[in-house]
């Protein structure tokens, strides 16, 4: 598996650390209420198909990336810097 880092170019999967679903980019406001925070902290989708994930280019550029990956085929359809995905 290869990931096309927007900074470094295409690299082997072993250079990256896998964080999980990209929920950390959508942190609720402090006063969003219990339901929103319960979902943010505890509830995860488990999709068979396309999902957005956070990966860290640990032994490369140290960039945090948002990778759009199909969990069935492992096809990667998009990679962007987390700092740009947020804004």
């Amino acid at each position: 598996m290869r990931i096309n880092c927007p900074v470094c170019g295409e690299r082997d999967r072993r250079e990256f650390y896998y964080k999980g679903a990209a929920v950390a980019l959508e942190r609720p406001a402090p006063d969003a209420g219990e339901a929103a925070w319960d979902e943010y902290v505890h509830l995860r989708e488990n999709p068979a198909g396309e999902t957005r994930e956070l990966w860290y280019h640990e032994s490369g550029c140290n960039g945090w990336l948002v990778v759009t990956r199909n969990t069935v085929s492992h096809e990667i359809s998009g990679v962007e810097l987390a700092s740009e995905a947020r804004s």
Binding site: V7, C8, G9, D12, G60, C61, N62
Partner: protein
């Protein structure tokens, strides 16, 4: 009184030769990581050029002039080696001294790229990785910085604490490449 003796990271480990392949430790030189503050990259580049005669390199490239070099060293990070950083840089960037933090070795020989091919998940052939190319990548299980110095020579850096593992892994790969003739 205890007498402290300065030791280089690879003291007692290098040089090692296998056929025409060779690893040796490079001179201890001052090293600093420079992380330009937001929007200050251009100013850092101008200061580096003026004070040290080297430009800020683009991603995966190195600027080298004799024993002085600037490596791209990660996202928003550059490594200045061979000179104490100009005082003006501290207004423009976070500058940290790393002089004792890294083991820095040179791997040379006609099949040096074949040795790295056994250890590194990046294409190190001259056609894909020409002179003054640099990468941050894995060397076996270690985070490394690898720079091509010439057609048959590379600079390899890992954390100082991993010097022995680096030499062990390189030596094993050199012997394997050497055995194939």
């Amino acid at each position: 009184m205890v007498e402290l003796v300065a030791k280089t990271p690879c003291a007692g480990l290098l040089p090692v030769s296998v056929g025409d392949l060779r690893i040796e430790e490079t001179h201890m030189l001052p090293m600093s990581v420079i992380m330009p503050f937001l929007g200050k990259e251009e100013a850092v580049g101008a200061t580096l050029q003026k004070a040290h005669g080297l430009a800020l390199p683009p991603v995966n490239r190195a600027e080298i002039d004799g024993e002085t070099s600037v490596l791209w060293f990660g996202r928003g990070q550059f490594l200045l080696r061979g000179a104490a950083p100009d005082a003006d840089l501290t207004d423009l960037a976070a500058v940290t001294d790393q002089s004792d933090a890294w083991a820095v070795v040179r791997l040379s020989g006609a099949k040096a790229a074949d040795v790295l091919a056994r250890l590194v998940p990046v294409d190190m052939r001259l056609s894909a990785f020409p002179e003054k190319s640099t990468v941050r990548t894995d060397l076996m299980h270690m985070m490394a910085s690898i720079t091509r110095l010439g057609p048959d020579s590379f600079q390899i850096m890992v954390f100082r604490s991993m010097a022995q593992t680096l030499v062990h892994d390189l030596k094993g790969a050199m012997e394997a490449v050497g055995a194939r003739g």
